[in-house]
């Protein structure tokens, strides 16, 4: 038994933390999320060079990582740094492309020269069995019809990997330069609606349902790790504030009623970290879906509690835009709505 990060992952973690601290100070980050494309395209190649993207797939697929722990190492740091870069879409696109054997696309993504969004879910269709978008061969070329909704990282992307129904099941397609309607997100970063209207596409796999499902579970694991990073920072900020804020002639952190609530936050972080480690250890196995669902459910509950309690215990300051904690709380709270919330994943666990 060994709960320590390997030397390589520790180095990646340290490097990424240093980079994000230097490049994404709070004011810079807030300026980035304020205008389209709601992230900093110039930084993408630098992140790729640090090895962040290559960590998402194994050596046999052209990368140098690929396990659950490689993913959680990167995303915990992205959470700690409140980084608005659309790395989630890159993770899912890269893993799905690799599983479909799209080698050139994998290489371009790892190099940071091509950034893709991962477009699966649709208006009121946030499970795979409900997808309606369709792919058809017209004169020997694939065209797509339908609409993808709240696609993370779509603004400014070079293209999107799109899930669409084919005669053979659920296919995966590359759409270059898609027609999109982009917008900012309340927790930073951007997303968009992808309108498919006889849109030409390249087929990566006519029956890629398993690859798409596996990529989504990798994405959920990443969100769990991001949440652990966010929770850790936000709880530290809250405890610091309780120690420093004085009312009634004493630090408010000296009141037992508040101490106990801070302790409950700390316990939830440990639970969250533990379930994320468990899910990471199962990624790539037959049990991945079940344990990822468990993690996403627990994280959804813990994230809500920690976001709400941190705002409450900060008082008015925690409600302000200029206080970083409010942005950590927003991101943490919104993670529950990404790739299925706690209720969706509770039902997956019940059904497993």
């Amino acid at each position: 038994m060994d709960f320590n990060l390997s030397e390589d992952r520790q180095m990646l973690s340290d490097t990424l933390r240093r980079y994000l601290t230097e490049q994404y100070d709070f004011d810079t980050r807030n300026a980035i999320i304020d205008a389209a494309p709601y992230h900093a395209p110039a930084k993408w190649a630098e992140l790729a060079e640090l090895g962040v993207i290559g960590a998402f797939v194994g050596e046999d697929q052209g990368g140098f990582g690929g396990t659950g722990f490689d993913i959680t190492t990167v995303f915990e740091e992205l959470g700690r740094g409140l980084c608005p870069e659309p790395m989630l879409g890159a993770l899912m696109s890269l893993r799905a492309a690799a599983d479909c054997g799209a080698d050139a696309l994998v290489e371009a993504q790892i190099a940071g020269t091509t950034r893709l969004a991962f477009a699966v879910f649709e208006p009121q269709a946030e499970t795979l069995d409900q997808l309606r978008a369709s792919a058809d061969l017209v004169d020997g070329a694939w065209v797509l019809n339908g609409r993808k909704s709240v696609v993370y990282g779509l603004p400014g992307a070079d293209g999107a990997l799109v899930a669409a129904r084919t005669g053979g099941g659920l296919g995966l397609f590359l759409v270059d330069d898609p027609e999109t309607l982009g917008y900012a997100l309340i927790d930073g970063g951007g997303a968009g609606e992808l309108i498919l209207d006889a849109t030409p596409a390249t087929c990566l796999g006519e029956d890629a349902g398993a690859a798409i499902a596996a990529a989504l579970d990798a994405g959920r694991l990443a969100l769990c790790a991001e949440a652990v990073g966010l929770m850790t920072v936000l709880t530290d900020m809250t405890v610091d504030y309780l120690k420093q804020r004085k009312q009634f002639g004493r630090a408010i952190g000296s009141f037992q009623a508040l101490q106990h609530r801070a302790v409950d936050m700390a316990i939830e972080i440990e639970q969250s970290r533990a379930i994320t480690i468990l899910a990471a250890s199962k990624l790539g196995t037959d049990e991945a879906a079940k344990y990822v669902a468990m993690a996403k459910n627990l994280i959804g509950r813990a994230a809500t509690l920690i976001a709400e309690e941190s705002i409450q215990m900060h008082g008015g300051i925690g409600m302000t835009w200029e206080y970083p904690g409010s942005h950590y709380a927003k991101r943490l709270s919104m993670i529950d709505h990404q790739l299925g919330d706690r209720y969706v994943h509770l039902q997956r666990v019940v059904a497993a």
Partner: protein, 395 residues
């Protein structure tokens, strides 16, 4: 025991509904439903409509322009206004300063100020909290020093709601450093355009501008602008806070939000079926409905006791805690109901067909984050628990 409203009270409810159907424009109601920010003109216009009907200053006695309602009528009125998505009456002049002046003001102050609140010439804001004095309000440090027949004020106030629209501010200031902190506070009225008053906006986490900081640098205010005796302002401050906490349960707003949640749960699909048919989500909705039904009766019991002069501060603190928690939970469920579509922001900038969610739900996440304030302001829920505990454990 009889939980029903009297025929007179039911007739009054019909009268309020008829008024709202007539006076509340669809445009204004839609802004309320969609969670859009109201302009000063929106709020002034609504105040004028209520004033024309004689229903603006609901807590004032009739001789000063109030409607002469009791606690039950006020409750019915507030419930109906909330259900119709009417704007909330801006409370600082009408709900706070007005009652203070009526109880503590001089005849001259009443004659000059009350009519200007009613007809909208003055917009008041509140100078209570300071960066170092929130829950511990009595530790406030903004100083007012006597210089002949003026006070000279220096210091800073914060969380001043809608101060950007105000031409007047009422302030708690320190006029003495002797004795207990509560014993050196005075209640002073200040023109916002007095030299040395500076207002700076505070942006909230949902991007909205509703609160401000107000800085005072050598601001000269006539001593005649003080309300009540010098160094006796704490009594006034506490009296005002009891008015801040009326309608604190927000039953009408929670009922309205629960209606919206139920409607959404029938419109929105999850796994191909309406969300209302999802057993886990349906159970969450049922639980909050149960809590709201109980609180509705708890609130009525308190109103009934208040009518008989027997309501306690402890009950109003309980209502504040439970009422805000229920409202926040409903908003959390609305945000959850939207799934991934809760995240786009700011929704108002998008074309109408950009998102596949109803327009009145598009701002759900912003509303949820904004309303985390409910359990913080007006005496945080922690302070309310202290008030209750003090009463329960009194030896």
């Amino acid at each position: 025991m009889d939980l029903s409203y009297s025929p007179q009270e039911e007739a009054f409810r019909d009268e309020v509904r008829a008024f709202l159907a007539d006076a509340l424009s669809e445009d204004l109601a839609r802004k309320g439903r969609n969670g859009d920010e109201l302009t000063k003109a929106d709020m002034d216009g609504w105040h004028a409509a209520l004033n024309a009907r004689g229903w603006l200053a609901t807590t004032w006695p009739q001789e000063h322009g109030g409607p002469g309602w009791g606690a039950v009528e006020r409750h019915i009125f507030e419930e109906e206004c909330a259900m119709a998505y009417a704007p909330r009456v801006v409370p600082f002049g009408l709900g706070m300063l007005g009652p203070v002046l009526i109880k503590f003001g001089t005849d001259a102050q009443k004659a000059e100020i009350l009519p200007r609140i009613l007809d909208g010439r003055d917009w008041w804001c509140q100078g209570y909290s300071e960066p170092g004095a929130g829950s511990d309000l009595a530790s406030l440090k903004t100083r007012a020093e006597r210089d002949g027949d003026h006070y000279v004020i220096n210091g800073q106030k914060t969380w001043t709601t809608l101060g950007q629209h105000a031409n007047k501010i009422f302030c708690l200031v320190r006029t003495s450093a002797e004795g207990k902190p509560q014993e050196g506070i005075s209640f002073v009225l200040v023109d916002m355009d007095t030299p040395g008053v500076e207002l700076r906006p505070i942006k909230l986490l949902d991007g909205g501008h509703e609160v401000n900081e107000v800085f005072f640098t050598d601001v000269r205010v006539p001593v005649a602008n003080r309300v009540g005796e010098e160094n006796k302002g704490w009594t006034i401050a506490k009296y005002l806070l009891t008015h801040e906490r009326t309608n604190i349960a927000g039953v009408g707003m929670s009922s309205r939000d629960l209606d919206k949640l139920r409607t959404l749960s029938r419109q929105l699909l999850r796994g191909g079926k309406p969300l209302a048919e999802d057993p886990i989500f349906a159970a969450e909705m049922a639980e909050v409905e149960i809590d709201l039904e109980a609180m509705r009766v708890m609130n009525l019991a308190m109103l009934s006791a208040a009518s008989e002069g027997a309501a306690s501060g402890m009950q109003s603190s309980m209502l504040k805690i439970k009422g805000t928690v229920i409202r926040q939970r409903i908003q959390s469920l609305i945000k959850t109901a939207l799934g991934a579509s809760a995240a786009p922001f700011p929704a108002a900038d998008l074309p109408d067909n950009a998102l596949s969610v109803p327009a009145d739900a598009a701002a759900a996440a912003a509303t949820y984050f904004n309303n985390r304030k409910l359990s913080i302001f007006g005496g945080s829920n922690e302070i309310q628990r202290n008030i209750i505990a003090k009463d329960m454990f009194r030896s």
